[in-house]
């Protein structure tokens, strides 16, 4: 059914992308109408939300303009944990057709729900995502996002099918089979986390498969922050165009925002997800263009509306019109999260800064891990970096030089001394989902 709705344009502009080009005034009108409806829905059906509006003396009638959104209280991740499992649902279970949950690596998992209409919207925004990433009917898409409780796999699956692409639901893991499928099926597009794809590229080289010679032309990457340096490396090593997509389960899963061929930020599908940027410390809204924490409101989600959800992702809104013609505002590529940040000896450090330093040093692929320890009350940061065959030398001097070059590059960016340990290839555990970059042993 969905396929028939969206497959009427075979190539070039796809009709599914039409909402990306709504005139701005019309878009704002749609947003306001939907914001008022969703606030009313949450107020009627979600006790926690109603209680918070009551405390502030607010009712849905107080939302008369988009700017009024700033009056509303934030929703944070712990709200989902505190109301585990179904406390934030605005629909009865009779109307819910899907449940997803986070993997629960930190404490209780968080649960998200979808009505049939929510799944349709999710499918639509994912189809719009893939259209923006130049996919079309006839493409063969290998989906290496994990299928299951994680929203990545199924979200991308439905969207790509709706666009008319042939989807291979391979899920994560089993790298050798993934490379075999890429080659034998003539795969033209792949969806994966960037760290898993880098792992795939390494493995392909080991297996003697040159990805550059395969039909693979597009990579759609998301679910973890990555840098432009990493993108360049992926594009060169695999001979593909790499697109960044953004999403989070609390909001819908993948499909919240996507790059287009301009690669100048990610268009937010803001007819469904309303973006704001706030100061992460004071919670005050920041003007467009300023960097801060991204806050998202689901404008159409029935089963589980999220009002002003704090994503912890650091970015800025770009208001200039994009070269692709989409009227949707863009967010800058997210390379860090406010909760990825750690403080060492009083200095704020983001893993992305370490990654930038690693990339500066020629020949170092970003397989690394940061280990934080405490010795006699003093915090120590050690970066473990894998030695690749390309940089390995039989000369001790050359290896010591490599180590000090990397250490200096990191110290130069962070301004603090770090330990640097060269470790063997593949000795850092590979992620088949999100990469675990920081191991904090300070309180062990």
């Amino acid at each position: 059914m969905l396929k028939e709705r969206w497959n009427d344009a075979a190539g070039g502009f796809h009709s599914v992308s039409a909402p990306d080009f709504l005139p701005e005034a019309q878009l704002r009108e749609v947003q306001l109408r939907r914001l008022q409806a969703i606030v009313t829905r949450a107020w009627k059906n979600v006790p926690l939300f109603r209680q918070r509006l009551d405390e502030r003396g607010l009712t849905p009638d107080d939302i008369q303009s988009l700017a009024d959104i700033a009056k509303l209280p934030f929703t944070v991740k712990t709200d989902l944990r505190d109301t585990y499992p179904f406390g934030l649902f605005a629909s009865p279970m009779e109307d819910v057709v899907r449940l997803h949950a986070s993997s629960g690596t930190t404490g209780k998992p968080i649960v998200v729900a979808y009505t049939e209409e929510d799944v349709q919207v999710w499918t639509e925004v994912m189809a719009r995502t893939f259209a923006a990433c130049t996919l079309h009917r006839g493409d063969i898409m290998q989906n290496s996002f994990g299928y299951g409780l994680f929203t990545g796999g199924l979200g991308t699956h439905y969207g790509a099918e709706a666009l008319g692409a042939a989807v291979i639901p391979v899920s994560g893991g089993n790298t050798e089979r993934q490379i075999m499928l890429l080659r034998d099926f003539g795969v033209t597009a792949i969806c994966a986390t960037p760290s898993f794809f880098v792992h795939l590229v390494d493995k392909a080289i080991e297996m003697g498969v040159d990805l550059k010679t395969l039909p693979l032309r597009v990579g759609v990457f998301g679910a973890e922050p990555w840098t432009d340096g990493m993108r360049e490396r992926i594009q060169i090593d695999a001979g593909i165009e790499a697109f960044d997509i953004y999403g989070l389960s609390e909001i819908t899963g993948p499909g919240v925002a996507s790059e287009c061929s301009e690669h100048e930020g990610l268009h937010v599908f803001e007819d469904h997800f309303y973006p704001e940027i706030i100061d992460p410390v004071t919670g005050q809204p920041l003007p467009d263009g300023e960097e801060g924490e991204l806050v998202l409101t689901t404008l159409s989600k029935k089963a589980m509306p999220m009002i002003r959800y704090r994503t912890r992702d650091i970015t800025a809104i770009i208001t200039e019109r994009c070269g692709c013609g989409r009227t949707l505002r863009r967010i800058r590529r997210i390379s860090r999260r406010s909760d990825d940040m750690f403080i060492i000896r009083g200095v704020n450090v983001f893993p992305s800064q370490v990654e930038a330093a690693l990339l500066q040093v020629e020949g170092t692929l970003p397989h690394y891990q940061i280990i934080l320890t405490r010795t006699q009350g003093l915090d120590q940061m050690t970066v473990e970096v894998e030695v690749t065959p390309e940089v390995f030398s039989d000369k001790v001097r050359a290896m010591e030089e490599l180590r000090s070059r990397i250490a200096h590059a990191i110290e130069h960016i962070l301004g603090i001394r770090v330990g640097l340990r060269l470790v063997g290839p593949h000795s850092i555990p590979r992620s088949e989902g999100k990469a675990r970059r920081v191991i904090d042993k300070r309180n062990d």
Partner: protein, 141 residues
């Protein structure tokens, strides 16, 4: 005159040396010479063996960082000043030595010196011009 040597990156931890050697043993690959360079946090294992290409392919396939370098085996005369003459020739030709180690020659029961030069071609030319004997690969194993 150049002899291929395999080098393998090792972490400084228990069993780091065991694992690659176990792999070679499992493939029935025999080693003729071995040397280990160690630093505070990593080591470099250097191996000489007849089956160097098969060993390289196996270790690399298993994910080890492996590199092949060109070594020169010099037959140093066993009397006082034997090594001095070789080194003087290299010094005169301004050839840098990266590292060296002894290698036991099965045929003839002698020890030869295995050199890793910065520029092996220049070293071979200088040694040959001075009439110093080098041992070719086929005479090593």
């Amino acid at each position: 005159m150049k002899i291929p040597q395999l080098s393998v990156f090792l972490e400084n931890r228990p069993s780091a040396l065991l694992e690659p050697l176990q792999s070679l043993a499992a493939a029935n690959i025999n080693m003729a010479g071995i040397s280990l360079a160690d630093t505070e946090d990593f080591g470099i294992l250097r191996i000489l063996l007849k089956d160097s290409e098969r060993a390289r392919a196996r270790l690399q396939g298993e994910g080890w960082a492996v590199t092949v370098s060109e070594m020169v085996a010099v037959d140093v005369v066993d009397h006082p000043g034997g090594l001095v003459r070789t080194l003087a020739v290299l010094a005169a030709a301004a050839v840098n030595i990266e590292y060296m180690y002894a290698f036991y020659l099965r045929h003839g029961g002698r020890v030869v010196l295995m050199f890793r030069f910065e520029d092996p071609d220049a070293a071979v030319a200088a040694l040959a011009a001075a009439g110093i004997t080098m041992v070719p690969e086929q005479d090593l194993y």
